[in-house]
């Protein structure tokens, strides 16, 4: 029996990259939104392969389940049609992909050379991210950032309510 982790990794890494490409290429907003869900689902599988079950579930519940549902909801409500590409200049058409490849190459070179060597990650090694550990560190070590974040969200909610109401 060959090890199953690398096989799953390559399958879902492929799905993630393909979904990401499809997200950019698709013309219809619903197709793009669904491709984004594909990316998030594959990322959740990556977390799962690393052994971080809680983060994987949180990724699915928060991103794929809550945020993207709102995206789809808004797209459906506005009944947005597919978008037609504007005529691009010849320079963009021919040089876009090579320039992008150069950019990616540069970026990966910088990351390779500048960042300090870290221990390689192995499958299933990231076991300290249980719900217990995350909850404990959120409410002890990172209490202040946590509370500040919730305050920010509260401000955003109040702002949305104020903007949406006609008269106060």
């Amino acid at each position: 029996m060959p090890p199953i982790d690398p096989i799953l990794f390559f399958i879902f890494a492929g799905v993630a990259v393909l979904s990401a490409i499809s997200l950019v290429v698709q013309t219809h907003p619903i197709s793009s939104a669904l491709s984004l869900i594909g990316v998030m689902g594959s990322l959740a599988v990556m977390y799962l392969l690393l052994g971080a079950e809680f983060i994987a579930a949180a990724q699915l519940i928060v991103y794929a389940g809550a945020i993207m549902v709102l995206f789809i909801f808004v797209i459906m409500l506005l009944n947005a049609g597919s978008e037609h590409g504007r005529s691009r200049s010849k320079f963009v058409k021919w040089m876009g992909i090579p320039l992008f490849a150069v950019f990616v190459g540069l970026l990966s070179y910088i990351i390779q050379s500048r960042l300090p060597d870290s221990k390689p990650v192995t499958f299933g090694s990231f076991t300290q991210a249980t719900g217990l550990e995350i909850g404990r560190s959120l409410f002890t070590e990172y209490l202040l950032p946590f509370e500040v974040t919730s305050l920010l969200i509260l401000i955003a909610i109040i702002g949305a309510v104020v903007l949406a109401r006609k008269e106060i």
Partner: protein, 398 residues
């Protein structure tokens, strides 16, 4: 290691077969119960007492023409039912039906897999399940479908909040996310007879969160009184108006699978899973025996005084089957296998019966009532319940 794959394969096949059969027959039970609530006999023609009706329905749906209406978004139109039914069926894989058992020298759990985050897995699947309904509504390119899909997604997003809060409070008491651990925490009895279910025990009995969870379950599965996504008299059939044949059946299966999942989760979280309602020493194993033998005697009695000519043959047969079933629960060497299963199925079945009962009793909500009910009534109750539970747990743990 190879053993693991073989056992997993066998268990998967078994659970898939039983689950799909139960799905088909749940619909028969629902039609029968609804019919009897409304003083009708219900399905009666196909097989004795309509028992072969699910089979006939399956054949009918399989052989019907799968029709794709014009001007639909074909890819998403076909994807939506697949998404809905796949996600609905996956949830059963983390539900534990019973304790660890030993068959032919192999020790295994009565469960496909025990995730450390089982309850979060089910929550994640239920929140992804919205896509099937929303996409079906949108891709059908019909006003009724779109309205149904929009209603459904708005309703599911709204009711997910009080549901998650209602799940959080028993989790505080049980202190675990694994479904198997949860049931193990609820084992045993206080004072020798009161079960340690989270519904009754702990620092703060979870009665309110149980009720909130059940009500949210109705909304999450699009059941009466929250079946606005498929309100017949306004939207024809809501999000699945344009579907036919197997893609229509897929939505149907998804709805019933979701019902079974949600009632199983309620059983595991609040009703102590497969643990009996009072200790085995006081004879709780007699309950299934008495229940089935009693049912057998009743049907034999009705077979001897038949209301219809055919009953003279069918009812005694059912009666003897019931009595035989009841007597198997009295066999000591079978008890460790089937008694937990019985208690799990009895609790889940009772909750499913409540689902059907309410469908036969309550009228439908109005849309603004539905939203106001979720945000102004259920959400505060669940929140206050969570706060009180948290306080009680914090005060009682060392």
């Amino acid at each position: 290691m190879d053993n693991f794959y073989v056992i997993s394969l066998i268990k998967t096949g078994l659970i898939a077969f039983v689950f799909l059969t139960v799905l088909a027959y749940l619909q028969w039970v629902e039609r029968k119960v609804l019919a009897h609530i409304q003083l009708r006999p219900g399905p009666y023609r196909v097989g004795p007492h309509g028992l072969l009706q699910p089979l006939a329905d399956v054949i009918k749906l399989l052989t019907k023409e799968g029709f794709i209406p014009s001007n639909v978004n074909t890819f998403f139109y076909l994807l939506a039912p697949v998404l809905a039914v796949t996600i609905a069926l996956i949830s059963i894989s983390v539900i534990p039906f019973g304790p660890e058992i030993e068959i032919f020298g192999v020790r295994t759990y009565m469960q496909l897999t025990d995730l450390k985050i089982g309850i979060l897995f089910i929550l994640a699947l239920s929140s992804i399940g919205v896509y099937g309904v929303a996409l079906a509504g949108w891709a059908s390119n019909s006003k009724y479908s779109l309205l149904g899909g929009l209603r459904s997604s708005a309703q599911m997003i709204s009711y997910e909040l009080p549901m998650a809060l209602a799940i959080a409070s028993p989790l505080l008491v049980l202190n675990t996310l694994s479904l198997r651990e949860m049931v193990n925490m609820q084992e045993g009895f206080v004072l020798g007879f009161l079960p340690r279910w989270t519904l009754l025990q702990g620092p703060f009995p979870q009665v309110f969160s149980f009720i909130v969870f059940l009500i949210c379950a109705f909304a999450e599965t699009n059941r009466v009184p929250f079946d606005l996504p498929e309100a017949e008299n306004e939207l024809v059939a809501g999000f699945h108006t344009e579907y036919s044949s197997m893609s229509f059946a897929a939505f149907f299966m998804a709805e019933y699978a979701n019902m079974i999942t949600v009632t199983s989760v309620a059983t595991l979280l609040f009703l102590g899973g497969w643990h009996p309602i009072f200790p085995t020493e006081y004879g709780s194993w007699l309950i299934p025996v008495l229940l089935f033998v009693g049912a057998g005697i009743v049907s034999i009695f009705h077979g001897l005084n038949p209301a219809r000519p055919l009953d003279r043959f069918t009812l005694p047969v059912f009666g003897f089957v019931f009595i035989g079933l009841g007597l198997t629960f009295a066999l000591p060497f079978l008890q460790p296998y089937i008694l937990p299963l019985f208690w799990f199925c009895a609790k889940t079945g009772f909750l499913l019966f409540i689902f059907i009962w309410i469908r036969g009793t309550l009228p439908r909500f109005r849309y603004d009532q539905l939203m106001a009910f979720a945000w102004k009534f259920m959400f505060p109750i669940a929140l206050v319940n969570l706060l009180i539970t948290g306080l009680a747990v914090a005060l009682t743990t060392k």
